[in-house]
């Protein structure tokens, strides 16, 4: 990958906006054949938008992408594949009922004399797996395959179409350490065969162990590309975080009171183990960790959307029901979920009904719920949260991401919860609304509400939380006071790097 070599892919000054949010602005990426190239950045830095542009899911608004010396034809996943770009997602989507061999060749099954030639398909799949150094039986069905093995099948597919650029989007997030080692071997063999491999990960130790060059993004722009050997973890974190923390996060001083929630020895097989912690009135507890570390799973189980296997959760000393969100909601728990569109809102339904869905019991008079009272409730909260809308009866999918999040907050704040859990409360919303949300949370804590904030954005956690808990691979691995907590310490605990 000497600079004299010709790059296989060049992205120049790419920009892309969604609604009012500038996801990419000045994004640059240069890939050479036979290299493993890390793409780093915090959540929201623009990595996934960049990857989706390469995968043919999105078209960039301006800038250029050149692949093998030709202009890259954008906007079609099929075309992206045919031009030689293969994307391996964190959780691939295979055909569970087809064999591994057929999964590799689906849509272009090998034929002999006009009929599908199973034997040579299985042989070729086998030799691709062998080439990757992985023992997989090509004749078994894909259902029940581990995520690590599914990724291997996808990589084999990429090889079979002779991809020149193979993008791996956080492939290690859900893998065990042995599986990670195997994936590294595979990536190195791809490198040796002359592929350009893009590797996205939050685990810096992995990045330095595997990659030869690193590109770092922040706020939609590329802020640096360098050889891995010329960088170190501290430098990378500085480039990734890079901004003054305090200004965005107006944390108000709050009086910390009695214990509101106590979680004791919570276990859920395959998700998390031995989780114990407390949250006090007026306290904002930050729950940090990498994607896939089990943060969201813990808060889901606490709220009651999922059932846990062992342990207990109590609110103000009273035990909460396992796996019964309806009862826990009545007891005073609230969860603003991670996935706003899938879990937080009923997209085709009105702002009024979305805001009131948690309050129907209280709104009912003699069992009768009137649309007027729903609208009044929604309007009242809309005012408090400075919600921008044309008509309270408009469906929420007409609102911007930030305003949608305000509706979710409204529906939960309306219940006057004793404990509010927010999972990625500011993901994908604009900076202005972001600080409004932060101010609101801060204010609620000041009023005595206990808050758990799950976030992948370190500055947000550090700026807002009174105390930070860090999870890694399903376990609690660190606890920091507001004063002690620094980006470096939290990141180190989250990635398991001890330096």
């Amino acid at each position: 990958m000497a600079p004299s070599q010709k790059p296989v892919l060049e992205m120049r000054d790419a920009a892309k906006a969604f609604g009012g949010v500038q996801a990419l602005k000045g994004a640059e990426l240069t890939l050479y054949p036979g290299e493993i190239h890390a793409l780093l950045g915090e959540n929201g830095a623009g990595k996934s938008t960049l990857l989706k542009a390469l995968a043919g899911v999105h078209k960039i608004d301006s800038g250029s992408i050149t692949l093998n010396g030709k202009t890259f034809e954008q906007g079609s996943t099929r075309a992206a594949r045919d031009q030689g770009i293969a994307v391996i997602y964190q959780e691939p989507s295979l055909f569970p009922d087809l064999t591994l061999a057929e999964n590799v060749f689906v849509g272009r099954q090998l034929e002999k004399a006009g009929v599908v030639d199973w034997k040579s398909m299985e042989q070729q799949a086998k030799s691709l797996f062998d080439q990757l150094g992985v023992k997989l039986d090509p004749s078994i069905r894909a259902r029940g395959l581990s995520i690590a093995d599914q990724q291997i099948v996808e990589i084999a597919k990429a090889l079979s179409i002779q991809a020149t650029v193979i993008v791996m989007d956080e492939p290690t997030a859900a893998l065990s350490s042995k599986e990670v080692d195997r994936l590294f071997k595979v990536a190195r063999s791809l490198e040796a065969q002359g592929c350009a491999v893009v590797f996205v990960s939050h685990r810096l130790d992995e990045v330095f162990a595997l990659c030869s060059r690193i590109t770092i993004m922040r706020d939609g722009a590329t802020v640096g590309t360098d050889l891995a050997k010329d960088l170190n973890e501290a430098k990378v974190i500085k480039l990734m975080v890079g901004r003054e923390i305090s200004e965005l996060y107006p944390k108000l001083p709050a009086k910390i009171g009695d214990v509101v929630l106590s979680v004791d020895g919570l276990n859920l097989a395959g998700q998390f183990a031995d989780i114990s912690f407390e949250v006090r009135a007026g306290e904002i507890l930050g729950l940090a960790g990498l994607v896939g570390s089990g943060r969201s799973e813990v808060v889901r189980a606490v709220f009651g959307v999922d059932k846990y296997d062992k342990g207990s959760v109590s609110l103000n000393g009273k035990k909460l029901r396992n796996g019964n969100a309806a009862a826990n909601m009545n007891a005073g728990l609230a969860l603003v979920p991670e996935d706003r569109r899938q879990q937080g809102l009923f997209m085709p339904t009105s702002i009024a009904k979305n805001s009131a869905v948690t309050m129907l019991k209280k709104l009912a008079k003699l069992f009768i719920v009137r649309a007027k009272s729903e609208a009044e409730l929604a309007a009242e909260w809309g005012k408090v949260l400075q919600l921008k809308y044309a008509d309270i009866q408009d469906p929420v999918d007409r609102l911007s991401g930030g305003n949608q999040q305000k509706v979710v907050l409204a529906k939960w704040l309306a219940t006057e919860p004793k404990l509010l859990i927010v999972d990625e409360p500011t993901r994908g919303i604009d900076v202005g609304t972001k600080s409004e949300v932060h101010r609101l949370l801060s204010q609620k804590a000041q009023e005595g509400m206990a808050i758990i904030m799950v976030s992948s954005e370190l500055p947000e956690v550090l700026g807002m939380a009174d105390r930070v808990l860090v999870m890694r691979e399903g376990r609690m691995v660190g606890e920091f006071d507001r004063k002690q907590a620094t980006a470096e310490k939290v990141m180190a605990a989250a990635t398991g790097v001890t330096k």
């Binding site: 996943t77 099929r78 989507s93 295979l94 055909f95 569970p96 009922d97 087809l98 057929e102 689906v106 849509g107 099954q109 034929e111 009929v115 599908v116 199973w118 299985e122 086998k126 039986d137 004749s139 078994i140 259902r143 029940g144 395959l145 581990s146 995520i147 690590a148 093995d149 065990s176 042995k178 599986e179 195997r182 395959g270 183990a273 691979e473 399903g474």
Partner: protein, 326 residues
């Protein structure tokens, strides 16, 4: 690679086949007449019609669709075949028109499902009505009796080849042909991909709409010809022919391992399912249980089959090179 035994154990249809063997043996013990040539011929004759519809239904169920309209189509074409002579037409005319009706119904279903993207359940429920209405309007109170059944058709139903009914041989050959196509033709493999993961199929560049359309047409075509077999088998047809038979065909598929959730199953399984249903019918008779129990037994079997399938697929453990974290 994998040993033969492992491969055999992986065959989805194996448990239900073994169950079939057990049922047959129990019935045979209880009533030796079951294992006579006449007893077996009864089963093969009885199974033919449901089996041919189950073969056709397999094409749509693997795509995660369903075709309820076959019950009306088969009755319609059975009647048309029988009435062809009295309308002054030849056997070939009857055959062609039967095929044409089947293809037309299939094309309507296919168009609405594939190109209008409507749910197949509702579409085929509607065409079940519509075809039945048109059929009964044409048939009125007319009954095709044995003397009106064309000689050639009658021969299919009445003759045996080394003891095996002609009609079953036809169905069996059809099964082999469709089975070969579904295993060996790319276009048919796409049906499995579509049923297994629709969005991934689109990403993989499979022409989903065209495949769905053609599969419905094929189902219709086979159903149209099945009407001729229905006439051959019973030597009679009227406005009530074929009523409710779609449920037996679906039951045969599901019992034979064609998953209602799509993506999986073979015509061989569908055949085993059909034979099992028929064997149980015979078994009820052989064991002296009133025929009234038959429908309840079929319903139970259908629910048991989907429950078992659900249970087995929930037990599939993720593969792993080293187990979980600990």
């Amino acid at each position: 690679m994998t040993s033969l035994i492992q491969k055999a154990l992986r065959i989805r249809e194996l448990p239900i086949f073994l169950f079939l063997v057990v049922v047959a043996l129990v019935t045979g013990f209880a009533n030796p007449a079951f294992f006579t040539v006449a007893g077996l011929q009864d089963v093969l004759l009885g199974v033919s019609i449901v089996a041919v519809l189950a073969i056709a239904q397999t094409l749509v169920i693997v795509m995660k669709h369903i075709d309820l309209s076959v019950g009306s189509t088969i009755g319609f074409t059975a009647y048309v075949m029988g009435a062809a002579g009295s309308w002054g037409h030849s056997v070939w005319w009857g055959l062609a028109v039967s095929l044409g009706i089947g293809i037309a119904v299939g094309a309507i279903n296919g168009f609405l499902v594939a190109y209008m993207k409507l749910p197949s359940l509702v579409v085929t429920l509607a065409t079940l009505y519509l075809v039945k209405g048109i059929f009964n309007e044409i048939a009125g109170g007319d009954t095709i009796t044995g003397d009106r059944v064309p000689e050639a058709v009658n021969a299919i139903g009445a003759n045996y080849f080394f003891g095996v009914p002609y009609i079953y041989i036809i169905v069996f050959v059809l099964m082999l042909v469709v089975g070969f196509i579904m295993k060996r033709m790319r276009a048919a493999r796409d049906l499995y991909a579509i049923g297994s993961n629709l969005s991934a199929s689109e990403l993989a560049g499979i022409p989903v709409a065209r495949r769905v359309f053609l599969a419905f047409v094929a189902t219709g075509a086979i159903t149209g010809l099945a009407g001729v077999l229905l006439l051959a088998r019973y030597n009679t047809a009227d406005a009530n022919s074929g009523v409710g038979i779609e449920l037996y065909a679906i039951a045969a598929c599901v019992i034979g391992g064609v998953a209602i959730a799509g993506g999986i199953g073979t015509v061989y399984g569908a055949m085993i399912g059909a034979v099992l249903l028929q064997t149980i019918t015979s078994a009820l008779g052989a064991l002296g249980i009133p025929q009234f129990w038959q429908l309840a037994v079929n319903g139970t079997l259908l629910i048991a089959a989907i429950s078992l399938d659900r249970y087995l697929s929930s037990r599939v453990k993720p593969t792993s090179i080293m187990g979980s974290h600990e």
